[in-house]
């Protein structure tokens, strides 16, 4: 047995004292650490954590701001807003599986999207509807909304990924009867709410449809653009046209609804958070004259275009570049974008690969050879290089030899001995073939230089997206094409010397030659220019060498129509044109539109008051490969001291310029100068 150990002890031993001191020191150190940490969190970084706590508990929902109106130069409303009923589904009413699925898909797709271009791989498909009960719910909704359960599921998942706590918008613009049906049966449609939203309204119908552009939730690509930096990912923006160009003025500022929520995201009742009201967008005033726009649309849609061929009309103020009218035919009703759009209808709008659809703004995005409307450029280039003088004459016998090929006027028309004015007036191809040959051998690339100087082959700078710069064929371009062809052939193991028919179809590998310049001299061949570019060229002829920047935007005004700012377009360029040279070209153009021999003389006939509103016009008939018929062009201006105008009309596959394009332009001019447009008649001239 062990002796019981006593533990009675005298006053504390030195060893214990030491150990208690160490113990105490240790405890002190621990408390000091915690105190300093507490000080750091609460006193030094308290503000930052307070902000985090607030962002934790406050959910911000946007209150949409009404977009600004778009009006024409005379205050006529082109685009305004209206309310539409929206069917929404509350995300809190969805089963957890659906939300988990959305979160998983969103993070997978986000990871895929973050990979560099070319390594992204296939888009990740959205998994199917997770529960049978949800499928039944979606199917009930789909029957009412005329869609499919899977489509609803996809929309729900997309929306949950973007903004997890905001209501999922199922359909906008629901008829009253369906709203009532859904509202009365909450047991069949749990979580479905009806709310109101702003949608665009177009009181002018199809007028100027292509210029306006649809408005809707930002796309994935738009979200990455710097111009939309700082906007919420579901912000509504203009996708195209004026709505896109002036989005920052029209957009307004969404208000903010602040909702206090608990940790599960459920709103807390009676929270006293301040809301910020939305600020309506500003009004944008366009230079368009709706009266003229309407005349242009009616003219190109009407009996003057018997084949209802596609085309475009552009009317500019040649001094300022203000666009007075711009019409692209065929057109569409822009309000279709405020409703759900089926794929088939959308495809019909965008057109097939071969033929552009009604969405396409042919005035700025389509480029074609321009036919004889190009001839003033050839004339100015020749005169400027002193290759010809105004008095130089050519004996037009209907045909001429160009290299080894004989080329002729349309229908082998013979004009006899003609000088430049006459050549423009009657649109003699022989004269301009010969001038082209001179320019090729003695001028080098003066034709290309003048075309570029006057505004072809480059963007006009109009305040609309999707402008096409067109093409001026030159040796460098031919070389680029040939190189591309050779690279393609090397890739596909086609011999470099194989005939063109077996190649890639990019180029026939021939070098730039005389034929190219001669084609260009009469606006044929590989030249591509938009109707708007031709309007800029003819503006320069009218104003004596100023290359205007066409623009639609005039002013930004407050919602109550007070001026905020004038919209500035890019400054105009000036091209030095010898006034004597210009006078020759102008003479030719005026005689062309005002005399019986002129190509468009019979369009304006004797009824048009040429002394008051002298018309300077040029027909054009462009041959396009693979098309059933030539393309009809007319470019004209009236140098009225107070209200000058340039009008360019093109109609695809419609034949001679005098026959279709010229009378349409006549209608537009007649509307502008209050002449009797019903007398505008198709011309009989068969010049190109």
């Amino acid at each position: 047995m062990m002796e019981p150990v006593s533990d009675r002890r005298p006053p504390i031993t030195p060893q214990l004292a030491l150990r208690v001191a160490i113990f105490g020191g240790f405890a002190f150190a621990l408390f000091a650490i915690v105190f300093f940490r507490l000080w750091y969190l609460q006193v030094l970084s308290g503000d930052q954590y307070l902000a985090q706590a607030n962002s934790n508990r406050v959910r911000v929902l946007p209150i949409p701001a009404p977009r600004g109106k778009i009006v024409d130069r005379n205050d006529k409303v082109i685009v305004e807003n209206t309310f539409a009923a929206v069917l929404e589904i509350d995300p809190a009413s969805l089963p957890q599986q659906e939300r988990d699925l959305a979160a998983q898909w969103g993070s997978d797709e986000g990871r895929r999207d973050a990979k560099p271009e070319g390594h992204k791989g296939e888009p990740i498909p959205i998994p199917g509807i997770p529960t049978a009960a949800l499928r039944a719910r979606y199917q009930r909704l789909a029957r009412v909304l005329d869609t499919s359960a899977n489509q609803i599921h996809r929309e729900v998942v997309h929306s949950l990924v973007l903004v997890p706590y905001s209501a999922v918008r199922l359909k906008t613009g629901i008829p009253r009867s369906i709203l009532a049906y859904v509202r009365e049966r909450p047991e069949l449609f749990p979580g479905v709410k009806v709310s109101q939203t702003y949608v665009r309204k177009y009181p002018q119908g199809t007028l100027a449809a292509q210029l306006l552009g649809p408005v809707g939730a930002m796309t994935k690509f738009e979200a990455k653009e710097p111009r939309y930096h700082g906007l919420p990912t579901d912000a509504s923006v203009g996708h195209n046209g004026v709505e896109r160009a002036y989005d920052k003025y029209l957009r307004g500022k969404d208000g903010i609804q602040r909702v206090q929520v608990d940790a599960n995201g459920r709103p807390v009742a009676n929270s006293t958070l301040k809301n910020t009201p939305p600020a309506a967008g500003d009004r944008v005033r366009l230079s368009l004259d709706l009266g003229l726009e309407d005349a242009a649309q009616k003219a190109i849609e009407g009996p003057l275009n018997p084949g209802s061929h596609a085309g475009a009309v552009v009317a500019l103020d040649p001094r300022s570049g203000e666009v007075l009218a711009m019409d692209s035919f065929p057109t569409f009703d822009p309000s279709i974008f405020t409703k759900q759009l089926t794929d088939a209808r959308y495809k019909a709008l965008t057109g097939t690969g071969k033929e552009a659809g009604p969405l396409f703004n042919r005035a700025i995005s389509s480029a074609y050879p321009v036919g004889s409307t190009f001839k003033p450029i050839t004339a100015l280039a020749g005169l400027d290089a002193h290759l010809v003088t105004p008095a130089t004459t050519v004996d037009d016998t209907g045909c001429t030899q160009v290299g080894e090929i004989k080329r002729c006027n349309a229908k082998h028309e013979q004009y006899g001995t003609i000088d430049m004015v006459k050549a423009i007036q009657v649109s003699s191809d022989v004269y301009f073939y010969k001038l082209g040959i001179l320019e090729y051998y003695h001028g080098g690339l003066i034709l290309q230089k003048w075309a570029r100087k006057l505004g072809l082959g480059r963007d006009t700078g109009i305040d609309l997206p999707n402008e096409y710069a067109g093409l001026i064929p030159d040796p460098a371009w031919r070389k680029r094409l040939a190189n591309a062809e050779l690279a393609c052939r090397a890739k596909r193991h086609i011999p470099a010397d194989a005939p063109a028919a077996q190649g890639c179809g990019i180029s026939d590998l021939r070098q730039y030659n005389l034929g190219d310049t001669v084609n260009l001299a009469i606006g044929q061949g590989d030249l591509q220019a938009t109707p708007l570019q031709m309007a800029v060229v003819y503006s320069a002829l009218e104003n004596g060498g100023t290359i205007v920047t066409p623009h639609l935007g005039l002013d930004v005004e407050s919602p109550s129509a007070e001026l905020i700012q004038h919209l500035q377009s890019d400054p105009a360029r000036h091209v030095a044109i010898d006034p004597a040279d210009l006078a020759v070209v102008r003479d030719g153009l005026h005689l062309g539109a005002s005399t019986p021999e002129g190509t468009s003389g019979d369009v304006f006939g004797t009824w048009w008051d040429q002394s008051k509103y002298p018309v300077y016009g040029k027909t054009g008939t462009a041959t396009r490969l693979g098309r059933p018929n030539d393309q009809s062009w007319y470019a004209a201006y009236v140098p009225d001291a107070k209200r000058p105008i340039v009008v360019v009309v093109t109609v695809e596959d419609a034949g001679f310029g005098a026959a279709v394009a010229a009378p349409i332009a006549c209608k537009v001019l007649a509307e502008y100068y209050k002449q009797d447009g019903s007398k505008c008649s198709p011309g009989s001239a068969t010049a190109l």
């Binding site: 150990v5 006593s6 009675r8 915690v34 507490l38 609460q42 508990r57």
Partner: protein, 395 residues
Amino acid sequence: MLARIGDGAVNEPPASRLPAGLRLPFDPLLALATVGLMIASVVSLNKTTGALGSAHSFAMRQAVFFAVGSVIAIVMSRIDYSRLRELKYGVYGLMIAGILLVAVFGGVTKGTRRAIELPGFEVQASELCKVLLVVALSAFAVDRARGLGERDTTARLVLVAMVPATLVMASDLGTGLVYLVILLATLFVVGVGWKHFAGLIALGVISITFVLVAAPAVGVTVVKPYQVDRLTAFLNPSGVAGQAGYQQNQSRIAIGAGQKTGRGDRATQGPLKFLPEQRTDFPFAAIAERWGFVGAGLVLSLYALLIWRGLRILTVAKNLYGALIAGGIVAMLLFQVFINVGMNVGIMPITGIPLPLLSYGGSSVISTLLAIGLLQSIYAQGRATAAAKGRGRPF
């Protein structure tokens, strides 16, 4: 070495008309810290989880726990703790039985087996067993106090503590660590040599390496993945997905948002439940948000006072047994406060270790009050003995 004569009987102070127990003194500062923390707990629970009036509110229930615990503490403080030394085998056996009972019949709470479910309430036996370990281990240490230089002594004490520590750790790593801390504190206070400590530390490092590196390498999972998550979340809370990182983040936001003087009724992290487990694991953060640096600092000061008094009582104990019990209890409380508050402020990993007196829960509250009662008993006995010997007041 400590040579002692006589037995552990108390020398009664001069006769008085009051019953013996009531004539014993108590440490007023320790009582102040204890009462202060109990008030803080009830007030905080009342604010964060609803009115005190409701009989089933957490504040009300906590108040009941405090009442029961206080009675136990007062009774304990009037008893001479030295008698417990004779019951060491019983105490030790009770502790092991309690732990095994939980392991076999315990209900599963958040993935771990911690509590015995009785009708109406649960008993978290591992909480009470901490105090029992202090009592039993101190007794064994006193028995071996003569052989302190021997490796055998250290080994036996380690073995005595490691048995319950391992059993607890199997289901609850954090509470198991408290057992280890009690062991270390007992060895430290009893006077085990530095060499033995060095050896223990080496052993500890080896076993941790084994558990974390070697065992997973051969395919044996000792530490569960969620435990690793919790232990590493505090290093980079926003980087750790899932619960652990979220909790640590929300706790820091709550504390930081409290700033100097607190958000009062404008508090959001707690009331809107962004702060998780705020009654049990994160009560400190809830207080820090509502009452700011002032309130949280006051609570910390009360803990500091508690620890200081504990250490002071260690030095006035009438015998080694008392000093060891005091040392064990102080180490236990200090460890729990530091780990829990450290986890709240984001410098310690997430563990389920409750904050003494502030965490809601009967087992924890009653065990802590029992431990404080023991401290008061040691103080009372120490004072009484000193008075009897005619020495000056130790305080």
